[in-house]
């Protein structure tokens, strides 16, 4: 067979094979090194600041818009059928289960995933990653673990904030556009949301944190030479993280429904 004609599928398949193999190795290294001294708390707190505090405005805007637009659409759509009283419950459960975690994670994938991949990629190109190794320290501990841990710690918190703001947005639109009494809206949200709603969204956010941080670190470290590769790595990080979040969301939703039924 002509070696220059690669079958698109085999090429794609082998790429995926290397990608998941690489992720596996990276995670394995993190587990191997993560529990050994020294622990770099200062690097972790810096990353928490970078990932969390700096992303907050973006998350607030996203959450408020999501909640507002959902209240509007549900409200106008259900008005004909006299379903307005159901708006609080619908908005709340959609936000808690889906929109809060997914949109927050997608925004973080864009912002933090791109940041991680390009920063690590540039460090590889300028030999700073080699320098970390040459000075007798581990890039896994210095670079990878603080970023993954920061995402794991911060994303659930951001999701919680996002849930709150999203529902507030819904309440506002419910009041101004649909004429639902804010007190009634608040009561309905509290009464109808169950613990399953919270836990499903909260549980997902840990997975999403990994979907963002691990591939981003991986693609950053995959850069060999040249600034051009940094751009490629950044693109791949954002696309991969977003896809993992969206596809993973389906399976995680399914999983959490099964767990809930079980309980």
């Amino acid at each position: 067979m002509n070696p220059y004609v690669k079958l698109p599928f085999t090429e794609w398949a082998s790429e995926q094979f290397y990608f998941f193999g690489g992720l596996y190795n990276l995670v394995k290294d993190c587990f191997k090194e993560g529990f050994k001294r020294p622990f770099y708390w200062d690097l972790l707190s810096f990353q928490i600041y970078q990932v969390g505090v700096r992303s907050l405005p973006l998350i607030l805007v996203t959450a408020a818009s999501t909640g507002m637009v959902m209240a509007l659409q549900y409200g106008l759509g259900l008005e004909k059928f006299g379903g307005k009283p159901y708006v609080p419950r619908l908005v709340a459960s959609t936000i808690l289960r889906e929109m809060g975690p997914v949109f927050t994670s997608l925004m973080l994938a864009a912002r933090v995933g791109a940041g991680i991949a390009s920063e690590i990629g540039s460090m590889v190109v300028t030999q700073q990653v080699d320098a970390i190794r040459a000075l007798g320290t581990s890039p896994i501990k210095k670079i990878v673990i603080p970023r993954i841990m920061a995402c794991l710690i911060i994303l659930p918190i951001l999701v919680a904030i996002s849930n709150l703001i999203g529902n507030l947005g819904g309440l506002m639109i419910g009041n101004f556009e649909l004429g639902i009494d804010p007190n009634f809206y608040y009561q309905r949200v509290i009464e109808t949301s169950n613990i399953g709603d919270y836990l499903a969204g909260f549980g997902k956010s840990f997975f999403f944190a990994l979907f963002i941080a691990v591939p981003s670190c991986y693609f950053g470290l995959q850069v060999k030479n040249g600034t051009q590769e940094v751009g490629v790595a950044t693109r791949k990080a954002v696309v991969t993280a977003s896809l993992l979040i969206l596809v993973g969301d389906f399976f995680l939703s399914k999983l959490f429904w099964i767990i809930e039924k079980w309980l």
Partner: protein, 243 residues
């Protein structure tokens, strides 16, 4: 005793063979000048000596121990004693000069903050960098970046230092500074390998030379020994001509 010993070292990247049977050794306190054209694999060879690259086959001995099959964790220990001075400095660009120099000390020593500060200011003085401790790497000239990189590599007082073109692209002032630093360390008994195209510096500091060409070391020895060789390329080199 040979402090660094490389036997039949082979390394390829994909189909591109870079080294095909490189053999040499460096004795304690010696400085070996590693010479070869651009792209002959000098950096790859140095990187292999601290485990940044893995050989495909062959043996690497460091301080008498077989380091060929060391894991990354084992190399981390070796690297406290073996320093690598990167071609471009490889400074951490999110840290100041001071923080760059403090890095190895904070990682590997139990010195107090005061003692670390003391050591760093001494080192800055020695490398003609006094006053630049609060600058970031992007605020430094290329020559200064290289000097900071060198200063950082030497903070832990290593037994072995690998210099990757430490004077390439530098003005005479910076070249002289670095030459002096290398000679000072050599006087302290440090073993080293110097990769360079800068012949005056090489002749000033190296005890012997190894020539890398066509994936192998084609000739090695002291200047006196090399004068006897019939290889015209090496003769030209010894006479101080451009390689």
């Amino acid at each position: 005793m040979a402090v660094i010993e490389v036997q039949d070292f082979k390394k390829a990247f994909g189909k591109k063979v870079v080294h095909d049977g490189v053999t040499f050794y460096v004795k304690k306190g010696e400085c070996l000048g590693l010479v070869g054209g651009s792209g002959t694999g000098k950096s790859v060879l140095l990187r292999s000596l601290i485990g940044l690259e893995k050989p495909d086959s062959g043996k690497i001995h460091i301080n008498g121990a077989d380091a060929t099959l060391y894991t990354e964790a084992q190399w981390l220990h070796v690297r406290k004693k073996v320093a690598y001075a990167f071609q471009g400095g490889a400074l951490f660009d999110s840290m100041t000069v001071f923080e760059n120099l403090a890095y190895p000390l904070e990682e590997h020593t139990k010195l107090t903050a005061l003692a670390i500060k003391d050591k760093i200011f001494k080192q800055l003085d020695e490398f003609g960098l006094a006053g630049s401790e609060l600058l970031f790497p992007n605020e430094l000239s290329g020559g200064m970046q290289k000097r900071v990189g060198l200063a950082r590599a030497m903070m832990l007082e290593p037994e072995i230092i690998l210099y990757d073109e430490p004077t390439a692209g530098l003005d005479p002032y910076n070249t002289k500074k670095i030459q002096e630093a290398i000679l000072t360390l050599k006087a302290k008994g440090v073993t080293s390998i110097l990769v360079t195209h800068d012949m005056p510096t090489a002749f000033a500091v190296c005890d012997k030379f190894a020539f890398l060409k066509d994936k192998r070391i084609i000739e090695q020895g002291t200047i006196e020994q090399l004068k006897q060789t019939p290889n015209s390329m090496i003769n030209q080199f010894i006479e101080g001509q451009i390689l």
